[in-house]
C-alpha cells in the first residue's frame, strides 16, 4: 500500500485558489450588502423613533413661580391661569427638574432635583416648563398632528394616506383588471405588442410630472365637473386618481402575467362546455389566476401608500382629519416631504417625527409586501 503519488505525475488534490476565493468572498459581500441596507433602514428608523418617544419637549405652562423658592422645601406656589398641571407631571424651573406629587389650588407639592439636576433657589416670576413627552398611544390614536403645539397624533396623516390609496385602487383595480383581461383573452398578438409598451410608458413617467398633471389638469377637471365650491384647489381625490393612473400599468401587467399563466386546456374545456368567451374569462380564467391577481392588487396598494410626489404637489399641505376626497389633507409621505424641505435641524422634534412616520410607513408597506408573497404561495393553483 502506498499513498505516495506517482513520480512526475501532477497531484490531483484540490489546490487552494486564493484569487478565486477572494473574488467569491467579495461577490458574497456585494450580495450581503442588501441585507445591510434593510438592517440599516430598521436601525435608523428605530433609533430615531425611540428618541422621538423619549425626548422631553419643554412647553411653557404660562404659570410662573408666584413665590420665591428656596433650595429646600417641597411646596411651590404658581401663578393662576395657563396650562393645567396635574399630579405626575414633570416640570422644569430653569435647570432644575421636578415631579408634581399633588396639586392644591395654586400650591404644588413636588419632588425636587430629579434626573440628575440639583435643587436650587429660584426667584419669583421664573417660567415653569412642563415636559411633554409623546406617548405611543397618543401617537397612534391622537387625532391632531400639529408639532407647533406638541400634538403628534398620526391618525390624520394615516387617514389621508388611506384616502388617496383607496381612490387610487378604485381607479386602478377595475381598469387594470379589464385591461389585463382584454390583453390576455381578447387582443390579437399584434394589438398586444402595440398596447403594452404604451402602458409601460405611463409607468416610466416620473412621479413629479404626474404630480404636475394632477394639479394642472386633473384638479381643474374635477372642479369643472363638481363645481369650484365643492372641490378645493388641493384635494386628495385628484391626487388619488393620478396615483391610480401611475399604478395602472403595474396592476395590468402583473394581472396579465397571471391570466396568461392559466393553461390553455382550461379555456378549451370551458369552450367545449359551450361557454362564451366572456364566461370563460370571468368564470374560469380569473378564478384560476386568483392568487396572481390578488398579489398584484396588494403590491399596487403598497405602491400607492408609498407614493410621494403626487400627493406632495396635489393633495395639499396641512394635516386634516377628513373623509371628503375633495378636501385638502396631508398624507404621511406628503408631510415628510414638506417638513424636510429646507434645512431641518438635527435632533429637533420635527426631525425625529420624520423617522417615526417613516417607520409606520415602512411597516405598512412591508406588511403588504409580505402578505402579497404569502397570498401567491397560499392560493396558488398548480397545473401539471
Amino acid at each position: 500500500m502506498t499513498t505516495k503519488a506517482l513520480d512526475g505525475a501532477p497531484s490531483l488534490a484540490k489546490r487552494p485558489r486564493l484569487r478565486e476565493a477572494g473574488i467569491q468572498g467579495f461577490l458574497f459581500l456585494c450580495g450581503a450588502l442588501s441585507v445591510l441596507i434593510t438592517v440599516g433602514i430598521l436601525i435608523v428608523l428605530g433609533k430615531e423613533s425611540v428618541s422621538f418617544f423619549t425626548t422631553q419637549q419643554w412647553e411653557n405652562s404660562n404659570r410662573p413661580l408666584a413665590q420665591e423658592l428656596e433650595a429646600v422645601g417641597a411646596s411651590i406656589r404658581v401663578g393662576e391661569g395657563g396650562a393645567t398641571l396635574r399630579a405626575g407631571d414633570i416640570i422644569r424651573v430653569r435647570d432644575e427638574i421636578m415631579e408634581v406629587v399633588s396639586v392644591d389650588g395654586q400650591t404644588l407639592t413636588v419632588v425636587r432635583g430629579l434626573q440628575g439636576t440639583e435643587p436650587a433657589a429660584h426667584e419669583t416670576d421664573l417660567e415653569i416648563f412642563r415636559s411633554n413627552r409623546v406617548t405611543l398611544g397618543e401617537f397612534l390614536a391622537g387625532t391632531e398632528w400639529n408639532p407647533q403645539i406638541g400634538r403628534f397624533g398620526i391618525l390624520p396623516l394615516v387617514t389621508a394616506t388611506l384616502m388617496t390609496s383607496t381612490v387610487a385602487m378604485m381607479v386602478a383595480l377595475p381598469l387594470g383588471l379589464s385591461i389585463a383581461i382584454y390583453l390576455s383573452e381578447y387582443a390579437s398578438s399584434r394589438a398586444r405588442s402595440i398596447l403594452k409598451p404604451i402602458l409601460e410608458i405611463l409607468a416610466g413617467i416620473p412621479t413629479v410630472v404626474l404630480g404636475y398633471f394632477a394639479l394642472t389638469f386633473m384638479t381643474p377637471l374635477l372642479r369643472s365637473v363638481f363645481g369650484n365650491d365643492t372641490v378645493e384647489i388641493y384635494n386628495t381625490g385628484s391626487a388619488g386618481i393620478v396615483i391610480g393612473i401611475l399604478i395602472l400599468p403595474l396592476v395590468s401587467s402583473m394581472s396579465e402575467d397571471a391570466l396568461s399563466a392559466v393553461p390553455r386546456t382550461l379555456r378549451a374545456a370551458a369552450y367545449a362546455l359551450g361557454a362564451t368567451r366572456l364566461e370563460t374569462a370571468v368564470r374560469v380564467v380569473v378564478p384560476a389566476a386568483f392568487s396572481g391577481l390578488a398579489a398584484a392588487f396588494i403590491l399596487a396598494t403598497s405602491r400607492a401608500i408609498g407614493e410621494t410626489m403626487i400627493v406632495a404637489i396635489a393633495a395639499g399641505a396641512g394635516p386634516a382629519l377628513t373623509a371628503n376626497p375633495f378636501q385638502a389633507a396631508e398624507t404621511m409621505t406628503g408631510h415628510i416631504v414638506r417638513i424636510s424641505g429646507g434645512d431641518l435641524s438635527y435632533d429637533s422634534i420635527d426631525y425625529n417625527s420624520l423617522f417615526a412616520i417613516g417607520l409606520v410607513l415602512f411597516f405598512m408597506t412591508l406588511f403588504l409586501n409580505i402578505i402579497s408573497q404569502r397570498v401567491v404561495r397560499r392560493f396558488r393553483e398548480v397545473y401539471e
Binding site: F26, C30, A32, A187, L202, Y212, F213, M309, L361, F362
Partner: protein, 411 residues
Amino acid sequence: MNEINPFEGNTRRRRRQGIAWRFVFQASTIVGIIVLTALLYNVINESFGLAALELEIDPASLAVDGVALEELSQEQLAQIFQANVSAGLYRRYATEKPFTERTREEVYDLVQERVIRPQLVKTWTLFETLFERDAIEAELAEKYPGARLQFFSWLNPEFVQRPQSSDPLRAGVRTAILGSLWVIAITVIFAFPIATGAAIYLEEYAPETRLTRLIQTNINSLAGVPSIIYGILGLAIFVRFMQPITSGAVFGLVDDPTTANGRTIIAAGLTLGLLIMPIIIINAQEAIKAVPNSLRNASYGLGATQWETIWSHVLPNSIAGILTGTILAVSRAVGETAPLVVIGASTFITFDPDGPFSKFTTLPIQIFQWTSRPQAEFRNIAAAAIIALLLLLLALNAAAVLLRNRYSHRY
C-alpha cells in the same frame, strides 16, 4: 307562436353580454392611452403660448438712427445703458466690471434687465393662444392696457443654458441638468459594480442555504420599499452620520469645519444608488439566468476555473441584458424626487455644481419647486422643464432599446 328551443336557451342574451363586456374591456385599455395623451397635451399646452409683457421703455424708442436695438454695437448699447439708468447704478456696474471689458451680449442683457425691464403680467396656454385669440386681446386691452403681447416658447435653447433665477423670464435649468448628471454619475459608479457583483454571486456561487434565500427575499422586498424611506435612510446615514466624508471635510475641502454640510451631490448619489441597487440586481439576475448552462460546461471542460468561466463567458453573454436593466433603473433614478427632497437638495442655487462635494439641485427638484409656486408663469417654465426631463428619459430608454436589439442573443 313563439316556441322556445331548449337548445337555444339564453344564448342570445349571453352573446349580447359577451359583446357588451368586450366593449368595456376595450374601452378601459383606451383609457390608458387617453390619459397619456392628456398628459402630453397638458405639458405642451403649458410650454408654449402668448404672454403679456409690461415694459418700462419701448425698445423701439431706444433705436439709434433707425437701427434696431438688437443690431446695435457694444459701445452704443453701453451708451444707452448709461443714459437710461441712474448714475449710482451705472457706477456700481462699472466698478464690478468696466463696460469696455464686457461683451456685446452681456451689455445687451443688462439693457434688457435694467432699462427695458420686462415684467410678465399674464400668460396664456397654447390652446387659448390658437383658438381664443380674440378673447385674449380683449382681456389685454381691458386689464393691461400698457402691456404688449408676445409669443413664448418657454422651452428654448437659452432656457437650457441659463442658470436658475427667481424671475421666470430669465430662469433656466442648466444648474439642474448639471446637478442631475452629477448625481446620476455617482449613482451608477456606486450601484452598478456592487449590484452586478451581487447578481453574479446569487446566480453563480450561492449555495442553496437559508442565508441565500434570506438575501434573495430581502432583495425582492427592498425593491418594494417606498423611495422616500431611502431618503430618510440617506438623511440619517450619508448626510448626518457620514457628514465629514460627504461634505468633503476629511479631504480638506471645507475651510471651516463648522459649516460642513452633508447635503451634497455625493450623499444624493449614494442614496439613489441604494434605491436602484435591488432593481439592477433583479434585472442582472434575469440576464445571467438566460445564459445557457452548456456554455459554462464547455468552459469548465476546457479547464477554466469558475471565475474564468464567469468573466470570459457568462458576463460577455449577459452584459447587454445587465446594461439594459441598469439603464432602465437609472432612468428611474433620474426622475426620482422624493428622496432628494428629504436629504435636502438645495432648492435655489445659481452656480454650477463643481464636484461631488458641491451643493446641488436636480431637474425633478426644480420642477417640483416651480410647480409648488402659486404664480401661473412658473407653471409654464415647470412644463418646459418637464419636456426637458422627458426628452432626457426618452434618450435613456432609446439607448436601452438599441442596446437590447444590438447585442441580444438567443440560444
